[in-house]
């Protein structure tokens, strides 16, 4: 099989670019801690309200961990609990969420906080809220008639 010289040059460039892309995201994920949300903890979707940390939805200060706060959400058709929360600017926060019924999304618009909530699973992401402002939390996975009404609010304040 004959491959033209120019095609070889192109494929070397193209594959090289792909290798660079993969290396950049790979190093960022596995050495700098930017893995996509992939929590492996399971939970009985019927007992969400009584199990820690979901018995206390909202922003909770924690001690002795790598993060300063845990921001706990319980999603169900078609609302998030809490519906509004204030986070101090610069706080390192672990956002922890799960769903009591169907699959929901959890996206803080304009940020990288974007994860799937599936019944039976906890999902989480650690981040530092380093930009002031009011952020909209939206459900971005279809969950039923009220899907487009399902939202919450995060205020990052000084």
């Amino acid at each position: 099989m004959h491959i033209h010289k120019f095609e070889k040059i192109w494929l070397i460039f193209g594959v090289g670019a792909l290798v660079v892309f993969l290396s950049v995201v790979g190093v960022s994920a596995f050495y700098l801690g930017n893995k996509p949300p992939s929590c492996l903890t399971t939970i009985d979707p019927k007992k969400v309200d009584t199990e820690a940390p979901f018995d206390k939805p909202g922003l909770n200060k924690v001690e002795g961990k790598e993060w300063d706060y845990e921001l706990v959400y319980v999603a169900s058709a078609f609302l998030y609990n809490p519906g509004e929360v204030e986070v101090p600017l610069g706080a390192k926060v672990k956002v922890i969420a799960t769903t009591k019924d169907v699959v929901h999304g959890f996206q803080v618009a304009g940020t990288n906080i974007n994860m799937m909530l599936e019944p039976g699973y906890v999902n989480e992401i650690v981040t530092t809220f380093d930009k002031e402002g009011e952020y909209l939390v939206v459900c971005n996975e279809y969950c039923g008639t009220g899907h487009h009404l399902m939202s919450s609010k995060i205020k990052v304040v000084k």
Binding site: K5, F6, W10, F13, V25
Partner: protein, 49 residues
Amino acid sequence: MAKVELKSNKKTEIEDSSSLKGTLASVFLLGIFLVVTWASVYFLFLDRF
């Protein structure tokens, strides 16, 4: 082997009609587009929390 073939057969009179330099330029424009769009979203990712 491929190189030898190219040089011996096509160098002289047919070169212009069989040239693929426009193809090479086109795919590289495409490649640059891919790199630029990817990098812009990557920087958006870095900029956001």
